[in-house]
Symmetry: D2
């Protein structure tokens, strides 16, 4: 329970945010930051902008905003860049995806959005089958592509006079890949890149380029990317923070709250059926069974980890968990989830919980992008390299040390995040024991 | 962060459980314990019987059952008694309420259930209008009634050779009472009892009798009962643990999980509409607007406290919260809740969550009764007198020290409970910081 | 089964539509008609504009649009006027109620909407308590108010060179009134008006004025209004068509479809619980228990009439039917209904249907206004005076001859409407027998 | 509009009911009939047993029970037999499927159920992959199998002294088959049987055997079976009634009520997403994509036919319709459907309807079996041979004359059925015109 403040470099200068994929999430994120800067909208959904943190005892009344407690980059310091196989600028992308209201949330910042033109992407239809794009790099061969990405990163930094950068993946889900020999250590990965090995998808080239340039990399999709030993090794070598994987935005967010509720109450689980309808590009990509398999993996793992069937075989040893995603164009970006949960209580009597979540994919994801960028930059400045487990809160499948199991419970994740911030700043850990209020 | 184990008397001998109200909850609880003792059913829903507790680091793998970690009374040590204005024994009560399957869960223990005949109750239709009963005490005047209850408690202890007792209120919701002068200190309360003052409802007489006899008292309804300074004073004088109020079983349980989720994610709230349909005696009593007012109070307070509108005026400063309860006989004890939650995300875009909970009132409440009895008895043996805030997990409106605000968030409540158990046993507090797994 | 075409006067000239209440429904209706005229929107929801009618056998392929089959007034022939106690013009009313998108559906026709200023209303807070308004008639005394309304009608007709008029009530629900002696015949009604009797609410004065002027009157609220013998007598005397009451738009529409489904399948009903949340002026008015009582009446009657408990005592003799309406501002005009239906099947086994209808009050009501205006004008031109039972399709509580029970089943209502149109035009009735396709 | 009663042979003697498939539906049906005969349960869900029919005008009050109006066989006249590849008798089948309460609904008639042992089935795993069974005919070759079935039918009739028989398919969904040359006329079918052609699945052999024996055949599954010209030809040759296909019990029942509601109101449809979870043998069979394809066909066709996109291209020309079925064991026979319906109203504004149906598969299907058996026997006695379109009410995909489109609207189907009964008995057709009540 150390109470010494950690050394953290100040958040001075400009922070470049390089986004892989300039689609619904990225354009909603960028437009939002521009609007918030101008006071035209509120950063709802963002812990870094709106959240507070309790310090000390409940009776002390010390509850500063997080942004006033830890040294984060301010919104005015952010500069945006992106890669995308489709050549639409951020303005065109925002219009096409139909997330934001054109008049109140796109036109007032049209100039800024139009100025963000995507750099040609490293793209390969073998990994994302339902998308086509012409704005792709001419470099062939994975090594050449990686180098081209490194050039992009350096060029962007110079062009925009950035002091620091963060790269974040907001692009589509790639087809399923098992971790293999090529991912086991850095030298194998280097060799695989040189050999144009199929086990190195584009997302790994982006991550590799980013880490090689000393830039933190965050993975918002379920792709393996940095979640392999080779990438962790590289991150440690270059002293870079990494985070992932798969933004936890809608149905899984609910799952990581409801499953802990069941466990807190020792209610049994017989089955959990989750279905989703969504009509955006993400939905279209996930129609491909191979992409869906990647997604299914991160979506299914959550319950196993939270419910610990090994500890509770009578309660959670044998439940049926199904996750379905359906491409359903009438909805556009307005994703909808329906969960049916079959539970049991005292003496085994059955009960049911049904949850219908009418959400908006990019509206939920955009503030996560902002928080992850700012917190990862904080971590980097605080010298925390490699896996940032304290950012588990934001991911469906949080990357973690091989020695421990992942924490999926949203509230454990939040405690972890907030106690990490307290630890960074030399404040006491909060345990909620609170016996002192009742001592005679 | 003390790490010395606290002195706790052993859980030896028989523990008498005296229940106010021998209706659906009480009969389901008693029947369940009898069945579990015989290996005929599982204590699903009970943390004391099925829960585990992590000790030390994640890598240590120390995760004992709670019942093996702290010294709790065993199910075989429990002896049951009850008061009720209706003369039905536990067997008849179980049949009437229709909660348990007659063949598998009532008949096998018919003998034990029939043996539990309710003692005449202190009952007054001014406080519970929709119930009538003939099995009431002849004593008139509140002082005489309190003394009659004290006699009952002593007689039960002797008759069943109990070493310790716990009294728990599982009866109906009384009409609404504001805390007043009569409740301000013990001498005022004593005077009010002597004066047959209307501000002392039956539930307070039960609590008073219990505390005077040195017996812990737990309040499962939203009635004020022990949640007044006079009762806290009495509990400290006689060195007795008290706990309350209002079992958190169904819709509010969900609320204290979903509201923290919103806050964790800084999602805004515009409105929360909760409706319930239930057809048991509880539903019938709550048709009386004065009883409903008592209930509404504990149901509504939850969101205010969790969401902290003072800290987050933009997000939670102006939401509409409605709670409706409808008596709907087709459902019997199978309560159903429907919640509609209007939330907002990034830039204020609206989204909706709808939750339909098909639950069973008594099936959810029964294991709470068991846990509260066993944990309160533990607290008593550990010398923790007065308010047991660490048991907040079980209550819709947890009683707390006047110096602090209540914790409604289910996960803070769970952390509080588990860290209290660790503290009692001299184990380290868990903070979920976990930086050690990532140190070089 | 007569097959002679009835004489119908042509729909020549201008048809004035005088609306009582220039709020959400009226402004949405008027704006819609203006937009449709200009080709800027589709008349979705309107049977007169989009519906077809099958004539003859299935094999004949004769399925004209209704508007091409019977002589209806065209949208270009409509002229609008209104009364309202609030002085907002149709443009202001449309903006305030927040139903239509300002840019695509209000601004393009701002001029037309602004030109519609409400005439001062006959208004009395004794009948609608939650509304206040300054735009009210100075005339005091019910007789003088009735005469003032008649003057308005005549003046409007002249000013706008109308050939025919229809008056339609789109205003709030008045407090509950039982039919009484004042309503029994025309002379009693006349006397009650003269005597300023409390049993003559404003809505009856509007209807009276309308009928006295030979203008058809349609009642979109659950108020008694024309549903009393005195008004039927007056309608016959002056040869005028009347229709009502209470637009069947959302939850009740669903009920009159699902209840017939249960009956068609002989599935039993144990309970039907309906709750509504809405945040518009209608919701606010219905917070007043006396206004709700009027509404509850029309909402509850539906199931009794469809399910015929006298014919099916085992199936429908004892079901619990609850209807709740909650004023819930976050929703504005976007009403939402949740129905829970407890049914039973073979051997009595229980099942449940739950329906969640996320609707828009005025969007559902506006096309009903259009259809009712056009069909009632048709009836008037076809010489059908008094109650128009064939328009039952549009009402929660269709007015009917005293000799018969009302038809609430949406499909019987539709058959009645379409067979009436066939009868008017001398086409054969459709019976769906269809044996001819299978004769050898 | 003929009003002469048709000649109908009396329903004298015993009616044998031969069921293909002795699983959940068949055992629930048989047990139910036995219980109802003894007065131990009600025939809820059965039109023949509980339904009434209005005759003449509304004012006449003539509303007899259907069973008192047309000459149906009584329940006491029924005798049951079955084929199944699994050798369980009806008692064992009823226990295994878990539909009925053992104590109240199985044990009291255990003797009768045990006496019903399935005859060896004609079964072929090429058509139903997820089921295995040992109780199969030794005959190899389709011709020999058809003859064996004919022998069974004759033997059953003799053994049980039946006057008439009906065969009804209550077995699993076979893999998808397109109508082909083998089905075009009777001689091709005969040749295909002789040639062991793969286009003749077991269900066609049952139908063939049945029709050859002059016994009506009803098809409760989506299999083609009698829905091909060859079978219609055979039915006409042997003067036999046929009916099908696919019992309309749960989600599709709702669809054929809600879609007509939309059309009646001219509300647009953008999308309809239907998902099902069920855990019985039916669900398991439908996990096989080839079986699901057969089912999907009948489930999808419904909306197209009801909504007539050709007539209403603006409203129904481009909606997305998805149907999903998920095998989800926690539910057993308690199927659950969730439908999300995206609709549009006035000026195109979007709205949503969501329906959650917690139903019981066999409880919904069993009374359909009873009604179909009794009505088909009536048709046979009334000399109605070939397709019985008037029984469309009971089927997801009603078989119909090639000259006409099918009627899927539940209320048109009901009108058709009831007007057919009136026609059979020489009563007037009901048109719901009802102008006579309003004539002066």
């Amino acid at each position: 329970m150390e109470t010494t403040k950690r050394d953290i470099e100040p958040a001075a200068g400009r922070l470049g945010v390089l986004i892989v994929g300039l689609g619904a999430v990225a354009s909603t994120f960028i437009a939002g930051v521009e609007l918030i800067r101008r006071g035209l909208a509120e950063p709802v959904g963002s812990l870094t902008q709106m959240g507070t943190i309790r310090l000390g005892k409940r009776t002390e009344g010390r509850v500063p905003h997080i942004r006033d407690f830890v040294p984060l980059a301010g919104l005015d310091q952010l500069v945006f860049g992106a890669w995308d196989p489709v050549a639409d600028n951020a303005y065109e992308a925002a219009l096409k995806c139909g997330v934001l209201d054109r008049l109140t949330h796109i036109e007032p910042i049209a100039g800024e959005l139009k100025a963000i033109e995507p750099m040609p992407a490293v793209f390969d239809q073998n990994y994302v089958r339902r998308i086509e794009g012409a704005n792709v790099k001419t470099a062939t061969g994975k090594r050449a592509q990686a180098e081209a990405l490194r050039d992009d990163i350096r060029a962007f930094k110079t062009a925009h006079s950035c002091d620091r950068l963060v790269v974040i993946w907001c692009a589509s889900t790639e087809t399923f890949i098992e971790p293999g020999p090529a991912h086991e250590d850095l030298s194998s990965l280097e060799a695989a890149i040189d050999a144009d090995d199929a086990s190195v998808p584009p997302s790994m080239l982006y991550a590799y380029a980013s880490l090689m340039e000393g830039v933190p990399f965050i993975n918002g999709a379920p792709n393996l990317t940095t979640d392999v030993p080779a990438m962790v090794e590289l991150a440690h070598n270059t002293g870079v923070a990494i985070g992932g994987k798969d933004f936890k935005s809608g149905q899984t967010l609910l799952k990581t709250v409801l499953a802990p509720m069941l466990k807190t109450r020792m209610l049994g689980l017989q089955g959990w059926y989750s279905t989703n309808i969504l009509g955006n590009r993400d939905g279209e990509v996930l129609e491909d069974p191979d992409s869906f398999r990647t997604k299914e993996k991160t979506k299914l793992g959550v319950l196993e980890h939270i419910l610990q069937p090994d500890l509770y075989p009578e309660l959670y040893g044998d439940f049926h968990h199904k996750v379905r995603i359906n491409y359903y164009p009438p909805r556009g970006d307005n994703k909808e989830g329906w969960d049916n949960i079959d539970i049991s209580g005292w003496l085994g009597y059955p009960m049911q919980i049904k949850v219908n979540f009418l959400c908006r994919d990019s509206i939920l994801a955009a503030p996560l992008v902002l928080d992850l960028v700012l917190f990862t930059d904080l971590a980097q400045r605080a010298g925390l390299k490699g896996i940032q487990e304290w950012l588990s809160l934001y991911f469906k499948s949080p990357q973690h040390a091989p020695s421990v199991y992942p924490e999926h419970d949203l509230f454990i994740q939040q405690t972890k995040l907030k106690n990490t911030l307290r630890w960074l700043m030399g404040e006491e850990q909060i345990t909620h024991l609170g016996m002192e209020y009742y001592e005679d």
